[in-house]
Point group: T
Chain length 68, copies 12
């Protein structure tokens, strides 16, 4: 039977949390194969001198199938 | 005094978590009356062969007033 | 060394959770200085008579540097 | 063997949390049979303009036996 | 898109926790359709006068698709 | 839109937890305006030499609207 | 320096959770000395055939000083 | 009214988690009377040089009635 | 001193959760050395059209010694 | 009866977590009176380019008595 | 197979949390045999009139083997 | 935007938890680049026959930037 692994990564974006998730997923695709799902476990952000969000950060847990 | 109930449902959408929440709420309105609030308790997603999100899923807890 | 404080506020918006976070942050900037980051800890919403979300609410924890 | 179900409801009362629990339980008896136990999972309250509690709210999980 | 619901039930068995899960699932099939998954959230047991387990109990969360 | 803040205080009473909550709320009204709700997050107590409760303590989270 | 121990007991009462806590504490005083504090960690109850609470149960963690 | 105590023990077995629970319960019966229930709170295991489980371990919380 | 790492994997089996754990461990042995222990953190399952479990899934955290 | 408040601050230090706690406490004494206790809720650290800890950070919850 | 028990104690020290753990462990050795491990579950402290820590407190869970 | 990964390791030391954290970090530097922060998530220890701590163990979550 298939065995999967879960790894946790943090994506970031100057635009939104949705975009931060996409950036994380895009990076994960460079080194991992067999991705089947993600879960967002934390949404935080850095706030700059002007009091606005400068970097959205999304923590995601990624599940991917381990080959053979 | 009013008594309310909480039930947990999972909405899905090919577009976004916000849309998944809306779909869940729309479905809930078909069978439940007296909805007063929701809370998002989990945001996950299925990832397809191409490494992109194919289905956003939002778990929500819905509160609604029990009649009479 | 710098010492920071964390406070919890709830922002609201008729449009979205992202907007609720922004409203909370905007209000925080009126009374706090030295904001460095936020974390979203809860996303809930009020649902109106028509069964639609009438107010999005985002609970955020704000970190800010305590001066001297 | 018996199978039971757990459902979560919120009772309210202008008097106390104990009374809120009783109101919740009373309402549950109208639609459910075979109740065997409850657990209080949250005690909160609405506060009115005068700064006093206007409505006590108790979240309870109710266990009841599913018939045949 | 499909919307699913999660409900929590407790199965019991004089034999084992695995059997308690099966009994819970069997009962759920009598009233629910579209079951897609379960999660075991608690394993406890009643112990009799002789100091042995007399009833295994498994709490499970069941996910099922809400039709149309 | 309105923005609210949550603060945590501990009330005490020689009589009961209900009374400890009331004392906490009464004190909060002296310095805060716009209170809308509370949640009890912890109930503990000091026990004296005679083995009886000498001070009931209730931890509550208070929500209040931030003006302007 | 003093060293304390924490133990968990469950008190019950046909009247109320407050009474269940008192019964638990009274019993603890029979076998333990040096009690300094308690915390209520769970409030549940058995419900009888008539749909009313027949036994209130309070789980408490008791702290007591270990002698010499 | 009866007062119960909860204690936590860890059973082990070379065969299975079910067996580890049984071993823990058997040992508890040697020193405790009035056992009424258990809950499994953790299932872990030691893995040997060959990469196989050499010892299953089950953490259980045992409830027993305190006499007189 | 030895340093260990913890990784999380998900094993599956058509037979049982015990078997799902074994499959996960077997797969881990193909790529990891120095395994010393595991902990089961989640037990869920897929349910098929017939309302029966078609795939048992066990989430386990594996500890292994990092060489040199 | 006395009412206390809990606030959360983050202390930092280039030397140790113990020192980070002390720095946080020292800063708190500048603006708060009636401090009675603290609890460490998180210990994290920033790591610099050389792979060493450059700033220890301790999150603490401070309890202080609210005057009259 | 060996069966172990877990008990929770609180050590204190005027010097440090490390010392509070040692004091707790030293006391435990007076009445318990077969200790195999500990886990620190809480670090708090009493703060005196001068705004300094007067007593460090460490909550620890102690595991020890139950003899025959 | 940068994407980071979080991995969990356990460091040990015969001297202290601070030293266990340092050992874990030192080992991590051998195989990982771009470390930016750590968080201590668990502090436990092995206790030897003499009833003293023989090995301090610190679980840490390490964040490091994923290159290109």
């Amino acid at each position: 039977m298939a065995v999967a692994r879960i790894t946790e990564i943090i994506g970031s974006s100057p635009k939104s949390w949705d975009d931060a998730v996409k950036n994380a997923l895009e990076r994960a695709n460079k080194t991992l194969r067999g991705l089947t799902g993600i879960e967002v476990t934390k949404m935080n952000a850095a706030v700059g001198k002007g009091g606005k969000i400068t970097e959205y950060r999304a923590h995601i847990r990624i599940t991917f199938i381990l080959e053979g």
